[in-house]
C-alpha cells in the first residue's frame, strides 16, 4: 500500500476493484465504512455481487479480465472532460516530457516488438534530451510528442461504446463510476483504490495496477491522505516476505538479483545505480551502492572485503532474460530436472495453477522437505488421489513448525507497519520455529561443506550465520538487529550538519548512513531504522498518539521507510509546500522544515530552484510516470484478452493476448480460447472462513463447518439453460482438468453482453484440497492454466474458460 489501512477513512471516494474487501479484509472494510459514514462514496466494480457490493453505494459488474478497458475508458473521460488536476499533472508527472519521435503504437503493438522472442526492444521508449541530458518538456502539454498528447491519443480509442462492448458494463454504469471517481481531481478531495488478487491474477495484472496509478496521478491522488493505490494483500506477512525477497529476481530490500553478464560488482552497480542530470531530482536510488554493499557485508561479514568485491562472485547469477518463478520451477520439475524442493508454510499442490501438472511434477523429485503446522496436500502428495505410493521415489520430510503465537518476531502488514509480537507459549512437543529449522539445517549443511568441501563452498562457509543464543535457539532480536544493520568500524558521520561518532558494532539508526566502503552492514536497507542507535526496538512501540488526527499513529510499530506512513507524501503539497487540502494536512513546509508525516526527504519543496526537490524521490527523474517504459508490455497500458477468453478477436486490435507473456508448452499445458467446449468465463476467489489453499483453516472445525466444501456459483439464467438446480452435484471442466463440486445457483452472477453476444461467467472458491476434510473436494486449480503476468508471473487465476455439467450418481 502507498498508504495504510486506517487512512482509508480519510477518503472521499473509494473504488474497490479487484477486491472483495468486506469478506477478505473485514477489518480494512471497517475503515472503508468509516469513510462512508463520513459521507464518502464507495464503489464496487467486480464480476460478482458480494458482501462488499452490498455495503457500497453501487456495484458495477464487469467481465473478468477487462479491467484495463474499463480504466482506460476512465482515462479517456478524465482527459476529454478536463477533470485532471492541472497543477499536479504539470509539476509532479512526466506529462510534459517529450518522447522520442520514433516511438509508435500501431494495432495493439508498440515500436520495437520481436514476435519470435515475444519481447520488445525498448530503444524508442525514451525521452528527448537537452544538451545537459535533461528531458525536454512542454509545460503547455500541446506538443504532439509530449507524454500527455500521446496518452490522450492512445486512450481516445477507449470510447464508451467500445469499453462497454468489451467489458459488458452498461454505458450508464461506466459514466456513473467515471463521474464519481474523477470528481476527486480537485485539491481538497481524495480518491483511493483498493485492489487485491482480483487485479494481480491476470496476464495483464501489473498493467491494470499501472492504469489505476496513472488515474491517481492525473487526479492528484498520489501521496495524499485518503489517496494512493492500495493493495489489500492476502497473507499475514506477505509484505515482509516480499521485502526480504524470497523471490528469484530480488535480494532483500528489492535489490536486484545479479545476472550472468554482470560478472563484476562494478558492472552490477553501474547497471543498477540510476543517473539523473536534473539537479532538482533527488534520485534517491543513487545510494544503491550503499545499500548493496551493506547487504553483502550482512551476508558475508568480515569475509566481504573491498579486495574480493565484498564476496559478489560467490552469489548465484541468473541467466540474462530468464525467469525462475514458481511456474517456471514446476515446469522444470515436470521435465524431471529438479531434484529437491523445500516447501515452508506453503501448499503448492493446491495453490499453484494447473494442479494436475504440479502433482505430476512432485512425483519426479528425489526429496521434498515440508515445514508446516498442519499436514497438507503437498507434503502428502505421495498418497494423493490416483497416486500409488509404491511408484513414488521421493524421500519426504514433514517438519512440525511453531505457530505464530509460539515464537517471537515481527510481521509486516500491507500498510508497511512492521509489528513485533511475543512468544506466548512453547510449540507442541518437537515443533520448532522456521528460524530454528533453517538455522539447524544450515548448520548441518555447513558442517558437511567444512568437512568435505564442494563447488563454491566459500559461499556457504563464509555466510555469516551466528544467530543462536547460549541455549542453541535462534536469538530473534539478534537477527532483527542484523537486518537493521550496524557499523563495522568506528566512524564519524555528518548528520544534517551535526558530526556524530559511532563505534564498531553500534546499530545504524537510518539507511541514510549506510556506506559502500564496507564500514556498514545492513541485511535489508529499508528496515534500517527499525532500531535506534541505543537499541530501542521501534517495531514493538505501542504509542497511541495521533498528532495529525489522520490516524498515522507514528508511535505504533515501525513503518518502512523511516517510519513514513504515506509514501510520496511531498506530493500532498503544492510546489511551495502548502498542503493542497487544508482539511487533511499530511505534511506542510514551514519555510525551514516539513511538519506532519515523515517527509520523502528533508529538502525544501520544488519551487526552491536551488535546494528544492521533486516529490517522487525514488524515480530517477523525480516525477510520477504517466509514460512508464519500465513495463515489459509498453509504456502505456493496453487491453488484451486473457490467455483463455470468450472472444476470438480483441475488439481493440489484432493482438488478442498480451504479446509479451511467456507461453508454457508442456503436454499438460493445454489452452482452449473461444472454444465451444468451454464456453463460460470462470474466476476464483476465497471466503471469509478460509485462508488461501485452506491449509490452515480446513483443519479448524469451527471454520470448516461454516464453509465445508467446494462449490461453483452459477447465475440463475445459466442454471436455467443448463437445467441445474441449487445444491446439485456438478463437474466444472477446463482444457486441463476438472473439479467436482456443488452448484450454487445465485443472483450474484448476471450474464454479460460482450460484442453483441451473451457471455456467462461462473466463479469458484480456491480453498479446498483432498487431504482434509476426508470426504471433501479437491483443488480448483486443476482448471487454471500455467500462465502469468509478463512482468511478475502472477498466475492468471481470475479469468479462464470452463464448462459446467450436471453429475449423475
Amino acid at each position: 500500500m502507498t498508504n495504510h489501512y486506517i487512512d482509508l477513512k480519510n477518503s472521499d471516494v473509494i473504488l474497490i476493484m479487484g477486491s472483495n474487501a468486506a469478506e477478505h479484509h473485514p477489518m480494512a472494510f471497517k475503515w472503508i465504512l468509516r469513510a462512508k459514514d463520513a459521507g464518502a462514496t464507495i464503489i464496487h466494480v467486480d464480476p460478482r455481487y458480494t458482501r462488499t457490493s452490498a455495503r457500497c453505494d453501487y456495484h458495477v459488474p464487469l467481465r473478468s479480465g477487462t479491467d484495463i478497458a474499463f480504466l482506460g475508458g476512465m482515462i479517456n473521460y478524465i482527459v476529454n472532460k478536463d477533470k485532471y488536476f492541472h497543477d499536479y499533472v504539470i509539476n509532479y508527472t512526466n506529462a510534459s516530457f517529450l518522447v522520442n519521435p520514433e516511438f509508435t503504437f500501431n494495432d495493439g503493438l508498440f515500436s520495437g516488438y520481436d514476435p519470435e522472442k515475444r519481447k520488445y526492444d525498448k530503444g524508442t521508449w525514451t525521452f528527448q534530451m537537452d544538451l545537459n541530458g535533461i528531458p525536454l518538456k512542454d509545460p503547455t502539454l500541446q506538443d504532439p510528442h509530449c507524454v500527455f498528447q500521446l496518452m490522450k491519443a492512445h486512450f481516445s480509442r477507449y470510447t464508451l461504446d467500445k469499453v462497454s462492448s468489451i467489458t459488458g458494463v452498461s454505458k450508464d454504469n461506466l459514466l456513473k463510476v467515471y463521474e464519481a471517481y474523477s470528481a476527486t481531481g480537485v485539491p481538497d478531495k481524495a480518491g483511493t483504490e483498493c485492489y487485491a488478487l482480483g487485479w494481480t491474477h491476470h496476464t495483464t495484472g501489473s498493467q491494470i495496477i499501472r492504469t489505476m496509478s496513472m488515474i491517481q496521478l492525473l487526479l492528484g491522488n498520489m501521496g495524499i491522505a485518503g489517496g494512493g493505490v492500495n493493495a489489500l494483500r492476502g497473507e499475514p506477512n506477505v509484505q515482509g516476505s516480499t521485502d526480504h525477497c524470497i523471490l528469484y529476481g530480488n535480494l532483500p530490500g528489492y535489490l536486484k538479483m545479479p545476472s550472468a553478464s554482470l560478472d563484476t560488482i562494478e558492472k552490477y552497480l553501474e547497471k543498477y545505480t540510476p543517473k539523473c542530470n536534473d539537479p532538482q531530482s533527488a534520485n534517491y536510488y543513487q545510494n544503491y551502492p550503499n545499500f548493496f554493499v551493506s547487504w553483502l557485508k550482512s551476508m558475508y561479514g568480515d569475509a566481504a572485503t573491498p579486495e574480493n568485491g565484498f564476496g559478489y562472485s560467490w552469489l548465484p547469477k541468473m541467466d540474462d532474460g530468464k525467469h525462475y518463478s514458481l511456474m517456471h520451477l514446476f515446469d522444470k520439475m515436470y521435465e524431471g530436472k529438479v531434484k529437491g524442493l523445500f516447501s515452508y508454510g506453503t501448499d503448492p499442490a493446491v495453490s499453484s495453477p494447473n494442479s494436475g501438472k504440479v502433482r505430476k511434477a512432485l512425483e519426479k523429485l528425489d526429496f521434498l522437505v515440508s515445514a508446516n503446522i498442519f499436514d497438507n496436500e503437498t507434503a502428502s502428495f505421495w498418497f494423493g488421489p490416483g497416486v500409488d505410493p509404491k511408484q513414488v521415489k521421493t524421500e519426504c520430510f514433514l517438519l512440525p513448525a511453531a505457530a505464530t503465537m509460539e515464537k517471537e518476531g515481527s510481521q509486516s502488514n500491507s500498510g508497511r507497519w512492521v509489528q513485533w509480537k511475543y512468544k506466548a507459549a512453547n510449540p507442541p512437543e518437537d515443533a520448532l520455529s522456521c528460524a530454528d529449522i533453517q538455522v539447524r539445517l544450515m548448520d548441518a549443511i555447513r558442517a558437511l561443506y567444512a568437512k568435505e568441501g564442494g563447488p563454491n563452498a566459500e559461499a556457504i562457509l563464509n555466510l555469516k550465520w551466528d544467530y543462536k543464543n547460549h541455549n542453541g535457539e535462534v536469538d530473534v532480536l539478534k537477527v532483527a538487529k542484523q537486518i537493521n544493520g550496524h557499523f563495522t568500524a568506528d566512524v564519524e558521520i555528518d548528520d544534517k550538519g551535526v558530526k556524530k561518532q559511532f563505534k564498531k558494532g553500534d546499530l545504524v539508526p537510518t539507511f541514510g548512513m549506510l556506506k559502500s566502503d564496507g564500514t556498514t552492514s545492513s541485511g535489508n536497507w529499508i528496515m534500517s531504522g527499525s532500531f535506534d542507535e541505543k537499541g530501542l526496538n521501534k517495531m514493538a512501540l505501542r504509542g497511541k498518539e495521533d498528532p495529525t488526527g489522520l490516524g498515522l499513529y507514528p508511535n505504533w510499530s515501525f513503518c518502512w521507510p523511516v517510519n513514513r506512513r504515506v509514501i510520496y507524501n511531498r506530493a500532498s503539497c503544492d510546489i511551495n509546500g502548502k498542503p493542497y487540502n487544508p482539511k487533511r494536512k499530511l505534511l506542510a513546509w514551514t519555510g525551514e522544515k516539513w511538519v506532519g508525516d515523515v517527509p520523502d526527504g528533508p529538502w525544501p519543496p520544488q519551487a526552491d530552484k536551488e535546494k528544492g526537490k521533486y516529490p517522487f524521490i525514488m524515480k530517477a527523474d523525480g516525477v510520477g510516470s504517466l509514460f512508464g517504459p519500465g513495463m515489459v508490455e509498453g509504456p502505456f497500458p493496453e487491453h488484451y484478452e486473457p490467455l483463455e477468453g470468450p472472444l476470438a478477436k480483441n475488439p481493440l486490435s489484432n493482438q488478442l493476448i498480451n504479446p509479451t507473456i511467456e507461453i508454457f508448452n508442456s503436454d499438460l499445458d493445454k489452452v482452449a480460447n473461444a472454444s465451444e467446449k468451454f464456453p463460460y468465463v470462470c474466476t476464483t476467489y476465497s471466503c471469509t472462513e478460509h485462508w488461501c489453499s485452506g491449509a490452515l483453516t480446513r483443519w479448524q472445525a469451527w471454520l470448516l463447518e461454516m464453509q465445508p466444501e467446494l462449490y461453483v456459483e452459477v447465475g440463475e439464467e445459466l442454471a436455467k439453460e443448463l437445467n441445474i438446480v441449487n445444491g446439485e452435484r456438478v463437474t466444472v471442466s477446463s482444457a486441463r482438468g476438472d473439479a467436482k463440486c456443488i452448484a450454487m445457483v445465485t443472483k450474484r452472477f448476471k450474464p454479460f453482453k460482450v460484442e453483441g453476444k451473451t457471455v456467462h461467467q461462473v466463479g469458484m472458491p480456491f480453498n479446498y484440497g483432498w487431504l482434509y476434510p476426508e470426504d471433501g473436494s479437491d483443488s480448483t486449480n486443476f482448471l487454471t492454466p500455467t500462465v502469468g503476468d509478463a512482468n511478475t508471473f502472477c498466475p492468471e487465476y481470475k479469468a479462464f474458460m470452463v464448462n459446467v455439467a450436471r453429475r449423475r450418481g
Binding site: E235, Y248, W417, Y553
Partner: protein
C-alpha cells in the same frame, strides 16, 4: 508482554442470569465454566501477537495459564489501532491454531522412497539426512559457468518455496541461506 486489560464482563450479571435458569443445570454448569475462564483470564499472563491470515495486521491477546504455561484464550486486542479489538471469523477462531487443535504436527515425520507410510524421526537424524541430500544434489549438478562461459555459481536442481506466513526474521534467514547455497528457483506466495 503484559498489557493492561479493559474492564471485562460484569460477573454479577452473569451469576444472576445463571441462577434464574431454574432446574436445568447444564447451562448453569456452562456459565460456571465461563466464570472460571474469566477468573483465569484475570490472573493469566497476557502476550500480544498479530493475526496470521490476511495482511491487515490485527492485534490479538493470548492469555496463558500461569500454572500450565498453555494458551487458553485468544481474542482481539482492544488497544490495537487497526482492529480496535474486533476480529473476523478466522481471527476470532485463532485459538484453534494452538496445540489444542488435535491436527497440529508434533513430531518430525519421514517417508522413505516407495514407502506407503510416515514414520517418526528425531530432529538430528532429519537435519543430517536433509543436509546430505541437499549437498549431494547441489554438488552433482552445480553450474559454475553457463553456456556462454559466464561465472554463475548456481544450483538449478534444488529449489525453495515459502513463506508469507512466517516472521520477517525467518524470511530473512531463508532468503540469505538459500542464496548462499546458490539456489535460483526461489519463490513464495507473493506471486500466488
Amino acid at each position: 508482554m503484559q498489557v493492561t486489560r479493559r474492564g471485562f464482563l460484569k460477573l454479577t450479571g452473569v451469576v444472576g442470569a445463571s441462577s434464574a435458569l431454574g432446574l436445568n443445570f447444564k447451562p448453569v454448569n456452562a456459565y460456571a465454566a465461563e466464570l472460571n475462564k474469566m477468573n483465569r483470564i484475570k490472573t493469566a499472563k497476557q502476550y500480544t501477537t498479530v493475526c496470521a491470515y490476511c495482511s491487515c495486521g490485527c492485534g490479538l491477546i493470548c492469555s496463558v495459564d500461569n500454572v500450565t504455561g498453555k494458551i487458553f484464550n485468544i481474542e482481539g486486542d482492544p488497544e490495537h489501532p487497526i482492529n480496535e479489538g474486533a476480529l473476523c471469523a478466522k481471527g476470532a477462531g485463532f485459538f484453534d491454531l494452538t496445540e489444542a487443535n488435535k491436527h497440529r504436527l508434533r513430531k518430525v515425520q519421514y517417508r522413505a522412497p516407495y514407502s506407503d507410510k510416515w514414520e517418526t524421526k528425531d530432529w538430528d537424524w532429519a537435519m543430517n539426512r536433509i543436509a546430505r541430500l541437499t549437498k549431494d544434489a547441489r554438488d552433482k549438478d552445480f553450474v559454475v559457468t553457463n553456456d556462454k562461459g559466464q561465472l554463475v555459481n548456481r544450483t538449478e536442481t534444488v529449489s525453495h518455496l515459502g513463506s508469507s506466513n512466517i516472521d520477517n526474521e525467518e524470511c530473512w534467514l531463508i532468503s540469505m541461506s538459500v542464496r548462499a547455497m546458490g539456489l535460483v528457483y526461489i519463490d513464495h506466495q507473493a506471486r500466488v
